[in-house]
Structures are given as structure tokens and as C-alpha cells.
């Protein structure tokens, strides 16, 4: 039974990772037509280094993801504290309304954002993409930081107050250090959500500018080159690195 379950889990992981491994392997294969035998070569990474469009899009993606991580984590943490530590009218309804956007198809969210941004004059552009990503990341941040806040009651903050700490001192000396692992995790999540986001970015990108996922899509439509494998391999390494950091960080954070 044990061996069977091991074998089963192995199959699941193989199913998940084999296509990715093939893609990464092909990024290092000299042939443009996926011919075997495998010949190790960095030719596609060199081609990538010369591809200005792809590099510009990568830079946009990293920049937007980083800004998104900072903004969404900041706003989301404040919201999580409000939800966890204060009572106010409509709190339950507001908490409930946080989750549906996660389940609404991105295509629909992207379309509605495009219409809304057009109608309000925000328009399209990197700023619109960033705005969309922040909106999308907020629920994740609130949930992750909120879970951390729930893990300790308000008693620690009360204790700080009895010792003479002002609300600001209490936040900086007690609340923030306590939720720090959650905040870091939330920031990594927000970065990943933005970095991987395609649909919203695609809808909100103005002609001539784009993010990495959008650029990859465009490139694929024009004709697939192993350069895509190369850039995808880099993205996979970054994404997995982030998620491993999240996993590690969250275990460290758990009580």
C-alpha cells in the first residue's frame, strides 16, 4: 500500500513536471526543430539577450510585479488589520466580498477593467496594468496577512498598551514583527500573481508596450522559436524560487 501510494504520487509529480522539464531541456538544445539527439548549446539564450522586445517586456514585468508587491502588500496589510482588530458596520459583508473576484474568470475581469478604465479616462498603459494587478492581488494579501493576525489574539497589543506603548509604537514593536513572516509571504504572492498575469495585462497593454507573458503570447502567434523556451526557463526558475521562498517562510512563520 505504501509503495503504491508512493508510485501514485510519483506519477502525479511526473505529470506536472515532465512538460516543464522537456521545455527547459529544449531551451538548451541546439536544434530549432526539437531534433534529437540532444546537443547542449546556449544559442537560444544568446538570441534572447539580443531580443530587445522580449527584454523590454521582461523589464516591464519585473518592474510592475515589484511595484505591485509593494503597493498591494501595504494596502492589504492595513485592510487585514482593520478586519482582524476592529469592528465596524458592514465588516462581514466586506470580508465576504473579498473572495468572489478570485473565482471570476480573468477574461471577464480583464474585459470589465478595460471598459471601466476606458470609461473613467484611466485608459491603457503600464499604470493601468499595475492598477489591475493591485486590485487582483489584494484579496491574497488580506487572506495571508489576516491568517497571521488571527494566529495571535489582540492580547499582545493590549499588553503593549498597558506598558505605555502608543498605538503606533504597538504596531511597530509588536504587531509588525509578529506578522512579518505573513507580510513577506504576501509580498511574494503579490509579486507572483502579477508576474504570471496574462489576460489583464494583455487587455490593458497599449500598442508597442507589453509585459513578458503578453510578449511570449505574441511571439508564439508569429511563430514559435526556442527563444521562448529559454525565456520560459528563466521565468520557471524565478517563479519556483519565489514559491519555495514562500513555503520556507511560511513554515518559519507558523507557530
Amino acid at each position: 500500500m505504501r509503495r503504491l501510494s508512493h508510485a501514485y504520487l510519483g506519477l502525479v509529480l511526473a505529470f506536472l513536471y515532465l512538460p516543464i522539464l522537456v521545455m527547459v531541456a529544449m531551451a538548451f538544445n541546439r536544434s530549432a526543430l526539437y531534433e534529437l539527439p540532444f546537443t547542449f548549446d546556449l544559442v537560444w539564450f544568446r538570441a534572447l539577450a539580443d531580443n530587445q522586445r522580449l527584454l523590454a517586456a521582461s523589464w516591464n514585468s519585473v518592474w510592475i510585479a515589484a511595484c505591485n508587491a509593494v503597493i498591494a502588500t501595504f494596502l492589504g496589510t492595513l485592510a487585514a488589520i482593520a478586519f482582524a482588530r476592529y469592528s465596524f458596520r458592514g465588516k462581514q459583508l466586506m470580508q465576504l466580498l473579498l473572495f468572489p473576484p478570485i473565482t471570476i474568470p480573468w477574461l471577464i475581469i480583464g474585459t470589465s477593467m478595460l471598459i471601466f478604465f476606458f470609461w473613467t479616462g484611466i485608459g491603457r498603459g503600464l499604470h493601468a496594468i499595475l492598477l489591475g494587478h493591485v486590485a487582483l492581488s489584494l484579496p491574497y494579501v488580506i487572506v495571508v496577512v489576516g491568517a497571521r493576525l488571527q494566529s495571535f489574539g489582540p492580547t499582545l497589543e493590549e499588553a503593549a498598551a498597558t506598558l505605555g506603548a502608543t498605538p503606533v509604537q504597538t504596531f511597530l514593536r509588536v504587531t509588525l514583527p509578529m506578522i512579518a513572516p505573513g507580510v513577506v509571504t504576501a509580498a511574494l504572492f503579490a509579486f507572483a500573481v502579477s508576474f504570471d498575469q496574462f489576460v489583464i495585462s494583455y487587455f490593458l497593454a497599449p500598442p508597442g508596450t507589453s509585459t513578458l507573458p503578453v510578449e511570449i503570447y505574441t511571439a508564439i502567434r508569429k511563430g514559435f522559436t526556442p527563444e521562448i523556451n529559454a525565456v520560459s526557463s528563466i521565468i520557471i526558475v524565478i517563479s519556483m524560487g519565489l514559491m519555495l521562498a514562500v513555503a520556507r517562510n511560511y513554515r518559519f512563520g507558523g507557530d
Binding site: T155, L156, E158, A159, A160, A161, T162, L163, G164, A165, T166, P167, Q169, T170, R173, V174, P177, M178
Partner: protein, 349 residues
């Protein structure tokens, strides 16, 4: 060190009345126990003094200065929470020094104060540890040192020993008492443990349903409870009901007369340890009830008897007898239960 005046403080939560016109004065340097069942309002009163609960009506003053509108962090209090609420990310030293740090006390003063406090709670050398590396009793002492660090005007303790096992609790009671004496800080603590309240307090307030039932020194409340609630909440009590015959006599349902030194009332109590249990033939004066042993529980130093007494109906008489002779009466034995009129406590409520 302060006097604390609570004047006609009321607090409701929806339909629930947590505090109902509570008026009480905590004297400067006093060790005061708030005793009551859960939900009695004792914790609400403590949290109102701390500033976490804003009274609907009434005033709270420290040394005559009203504090209802002063936020917690400016009330200059020290508080020990039920589960200590030590900051897990800080060392023992930084926990204790927290109140000094937020007040920007300069470094040499901080270190000196820290050393004094660690010595006071017998934790010298533990400064660099994290709270989770300490035992329950040690954590309790850190919480106490932290609360005392800023020399608060009032020290508030919320079930401070509740999380400790019995043995440790008794040790800590003595220690807490000593530390309170040494610092002289006005201390108000909440407990539902009657023994703890009796051992620690200069005075006790018994609280029930948001009202003060009785306030007084432990010996006063125990020996002269004014109501059935106070009598039963603090210790055990045999209840005697009847009609008042004259100033010092109560007649039970079956006609037995109960004498009291104090003015008689329709309801009186007698504490189980005041009752002498004698063989049926023994000569006896004072209040004497005839009965038979129902149950005898020997516990070393004393024996607890439940005695069936016709005069009391179904309710057996409870008597604690010191094991002076070493003899234990067996169930079924006919006995006399005797106590002197001074030990009969007529109740007012």
C-alpha cells in the same frame, strides 16, 4: 502607588448588564481580590480600570484624577494577563524592558532597573532567553516583572495564577504576596479561586451579576458573610432556615431552637469546621442537633462528615473535624452535632 476610586460604574453589552452601579475604593498599597463566578463582571471591572472597557456611566479616578477618557497607554498601569501575553519575538530582558523602551528611558537606567527586576523575580541570568524557553512559573514571573518595570500606579492581575498547576500556584501566591509588599504597589487581582483570594488579599470584593455582594477583609467575609451567595461562594456553609422567635433565637421547621450571639434572622449559616461531632450520649451545651452519620471521608488531617439531621430535612449537615483523636466515626453511628451560639451567622440578605 495610588488610590483608585470607582464610582457608580455601569456597563452593558446589549441586554447583558456586566457592571451595575459598582462603587468601590481601592486603598493606596492595598492588595485587593475581586472574586466571583465567571460572567460576574469581575474581569469587566478590571478591564474598565485598565481602560480597555469604557463605562457607560460612572467615574474611575486614580488619586482623585478622573481617567475614563485617558487611553490605556497613558494610564500608567501594569497588567499581568491570564496567559501572560509575553512578546514571543522578544527576549526576557526586552519583554521586561518594553515599558522602559517605549518611554525612551536612557540606557544605564534601563539596565539598572532590569537587573533589579530580574533579581526581584529570581530570574537573574535569564535575560537573554526567549519566553518559550521558560517554564510556566518563570513566564509568570517575567510577566510580573514586565508589569512592574515602569513603577505603575496600579498593578492589575487577571487570573494571574490560573494557568499554573496547584503546587506552583501555592508557591507563586507566596511570592506574589512578598513582591507586592516589597513594591507597595496598589494591586487589584481577579480570581475565581477562593483560596487564592483568601491567601493573597488585604480585602476582597465578592461580585455577582455585575454587583458587589460584599466587600471586606478575608476573615470578615468568611466569618461574617452577609448573604447566602457570599457564604457559599467563599467556603462551605450549612444553611439554617426558620422563623425568628426573639433577638437571639431561630426556630427551625421541626421546632428545634438555634441560638445566635448576633441578632437572629430567618436564614443563618454555620461553617462546617465550627461544628463538633460528638457521640450520642455525650453531654452537650449550645446548639445541638441530633443525627446520624451518613458519610465519612477521611483525608488525613481532617475528616468530612455528612450527617443526616431530622431538623434540616433532606439536606445533610456538613462538618469538618480535625483528626485530633484519630478515630473516625462510621456511617450509621448516632451523633450530636454541636456549635456555640457565636458561630451561628444570621444573614442579612
Amino acid at each position: 502607588m495610588s488610590r483608585v476610586d470607582v464610582d457608580r460604574v455601569s456597563k452593558r453589552y446589549g441586554q447583558v448588564v456586566a457592571l451595575d452601579e459598582v462603587t468601590i475604593t481601592f486603598a493606596d498599597g492595598e492588595f485587593f481580590g475581586l472574586l466571583g463566578p465567571s460572567g460576574s463582571g469581575k474581569t469587566t471591572l478590571l478591564r474598565a480600570i485598565a481602560g480597555f472597557v469604557i463605562p457607560d456611566r460612572g467615574t474611575i479616578a486614580f488619586d482623585g484624577e478622573q481617567v475614563e477618557s485617558v487611553p490605556v497607554h497613558r494610564r500608567d498601569i501594569g497588567m499581568v494577563f491570564q496567559n501572560y501575553a509575553l512578546f514571543p519575538h522578544l527576549t526576557v530582558a526586552d519583554n521586561i524592558g518594553f515599558g522602559l523602551d517605549v518611554r525612551h528611558v536612557d540606557r544605564s537606567d534601563r539596565e539598572r532597573r532590569l537587573a533589579d527586576l530580574l533579581a526581584l523575580v529570581r530570574l537573574a541570568g535569564f535575560g537573554a532567553r526567549k519566553p518559550r524557553e521558560l517554564s510556566g512559573g518563570q513566564q509568570q514571573r517575567v510577566a510580573l516583572a514586565r508589569a512592574l518595570a515602569t513603577r505603575p500606579r496600579v498593578l492589575l492581575l487577571d487570573e494571574p495564577l490560573g494557568a499554573l498547576d496547584r503546587r506552583l500556584r501555592q508557591e507563586m501566591q507566596v511570592e506574589l504576596r512578598d513582591i507586592q509588599r516589597e513594591t507597595g504597589v496598589t494591586t487589584i487581582f481577579v480570581t475565581h479561586d477562593q483560596e487564592e483570594a483568601l491567601t493573597l488579599s488585604d480585602r476582597i470584593a465578592i461580585i455577582n451579576e455585575g454587583r458587589l455582594v460584599q466587600v471586606g477583609a478575608p476573615v470578615e467575609i468568611y466569618e461574617r458573610p452577609r448573604s447566602l451567595f457570599a457564604a457559599r461562594f467563599l467556603g462551605d456553609a450549612n444553611i439554617l432556615r426558620g422563623t425568628v422567635v426573639d433577638r437571639s433565637t431561630l426556630r427551625l421547621a421541626d421546632g428545634t431552637l438555634i441560638l445566635s450571639a448576633l441578632p437572629a434572622a430567618p436564614v443563618a449559616i454555620v461553617r462546617p469546621e465550627k461544628i463538633a461531632v460528638l457521640p450520642a450520649a455525650a453531654p452537650a451545651a449550645g446548639n445541638v442537633l441530633v443525627g446520624e452519620i451518613l458519610q465519612a471521608v477521611y483525608s488525613g488531617a481532617s475528616t468530612t462528615y455528612r450527617i443526616r439531621v431530622a431538623a434540616l430535612g433532606d439536606e445533610p449537615l456538613l462538618a469538618f473535624v480535625q483528626s485530633a483523636s484519630g478515630d473516625v466515626l462510621t456511617p450509621g453511628a448516632p451523633v450530636l452535632a454541636r456549635w456555640s451560639p457565636e458561630q451561628t451567622v444570621p444573614l442579612q440578605g
